[in-house]
Symmetry: C2
Subunit: 254 residues, 2 copies
């Protein structure tokens, strides 16, 4: 065994927000995500814990690299099927809201499920969104489940926690039109999105909070045919983003 | 304690497909889902295990009802936050593929993640899809995570496992056009869906299998702006369904 009990305890503690905040570290794991972290992101790795199979070049001095057994990997991994490597990574705030570069901004009002948040980031990045702003009550973006569900998309967006009301004031001053998801909204398929749009998505259980709802310029609904009460917030986000891009983007002619 | 060790073991065994198949029972839990199960579905409940707080009328004789403690609930629940009630429910095949009543059919080719499957069912039901047909390698629809993620939508669709190639032959004989998700497909936003469409979605890791891909009339792509490699299969399904319905449905004028 390479790792001491205390080291294992330390790594496992990073599953909990309090300890991530204390140590300013979060976890990324699995061969693909860790490789992309090294090659495509500006995040700084603290330590890479890897099995023989992962095979890191010994000459890489940018971070600590520790060879562990499969058994140790299973102990520190958050995955059902651990995959060769777990990295501890430095939390860095990399937020710059550059409204000149960005026509569509995504605001998240208290999204609570870490998997949903990760999927939303993955989808937003697919459509080229640069800025995602979450209310302070939104789940922690450095939660392992969020990182895993984002599938590396996380590395390519500016994600920040803000007081949404203040950001909304700033967005309005910059001529953004605020649209938000609501079950009492107008049919999204009969709506033209303004080019400068800020899309607000609410929480899984309660939707957009009343104080934010008041600030919207438009409430939007995805019309339903069946009997279900609601859509998953990730799915609803995907459908709204799809509609925006269908209307606004010059896609390749393919 | 009301439940014996063996009873607890039995209920927990239903988390595993082999035991669900053996006993022809699956689990539905949480107040909302169990209430909807009783009021809106044709599934037959075997036993309802509930805490005092859930409060079932004693006169309900359609199924066994057993009062348990919060501690016992926590033992048999699959949820992080157990919610008042766990029901064991009889597995019934309720598949009838009625192509006369159905313009859009959803085919799933080896979707592997139970949460994704549940979300897909929820989304499909939202858009009024009646028939979902899955390959035999698709994850078990009676998996607890699938049931929970479907949020009761599961009660309202015909879901079946079939040899996809055979179903596709039948669909083609009935003038359905087969569209499938593929990273080498044509831009979905520049495509008109035929009214009679069968949409095929592939697995999370491998997409649509080659033997099914050959049978498609059209490969479709959701064009990307960012750098992510792929979308979550649930999100992609939602976007395709949204596009179909935007083109074809007469929504209310609201």
């Amino acid at each position: 065994m390479t790792l001491t009990k205390n080291e294992i305890k330390f790594i496992k503690s990073l599953r909990i927000k309090k300890y991530r905040d204390n140590h300013q570290l979060f976890i990324v794991e699995g061969e693909k995500l860790v490789n992309e972290l090294m090659s495509q992101s500006t995040y700084k790795i603290d330590t890479v814990f890897h099995t023989q199979e992962y095979g890191i070049p010994e000459t890489d001095l940018r971070f600590n690299s520790i060879l562990i057994s499969d058994k140790e990997l299973a102990q520190i991994s958050t995955l059902k099927s651990p995959n060769k490597v777990v990295a501890t990574v430095k939390i860095t705030a990399k937020f710059e809201l550059n409204l000149q570069e960005s026509d569509l901004v995504l605001l998240l009002d208290n999204v609570k499920d870490p998997g949903n948040l990760g999927t939303i980031i993955r989808t937003a990045e697919w459509y080229g969104i640069k800025n995602i702003i979450a209310s302070e009550q939104t789940v922690d973006v450095f939660n392992s489940k969020t990182i895993q569900a984002s599938m590396g998309a996380f590395y390519h967006v500016n994600f920040s926690y803000c007081h949404l009301e203040s950001i909304i004031t700033e967005l309005k001053e910059n001529d953004f039109v605020l649209s938000g998801a609501s079950l009492s909204g107008v049919n999204v398929y009969k709506t033209e999105f303004e080019t400068k749009t800020a899309l607000v998505m609410g929480s899984e259980s309660h939707g957009i909070s009343p104080s934010i709802m008041k600030l919207l310029d438009r409430e939007l609904l995805i019309p339903k045919v069946g009997v279900s009460e609601s859509l998953n917030v990730g799915i609803a986000t995907g459908i709204f983003l799809s509609e925006y891009y269908r209307q606004h983007m010059q896609f390749s002619k393919k």
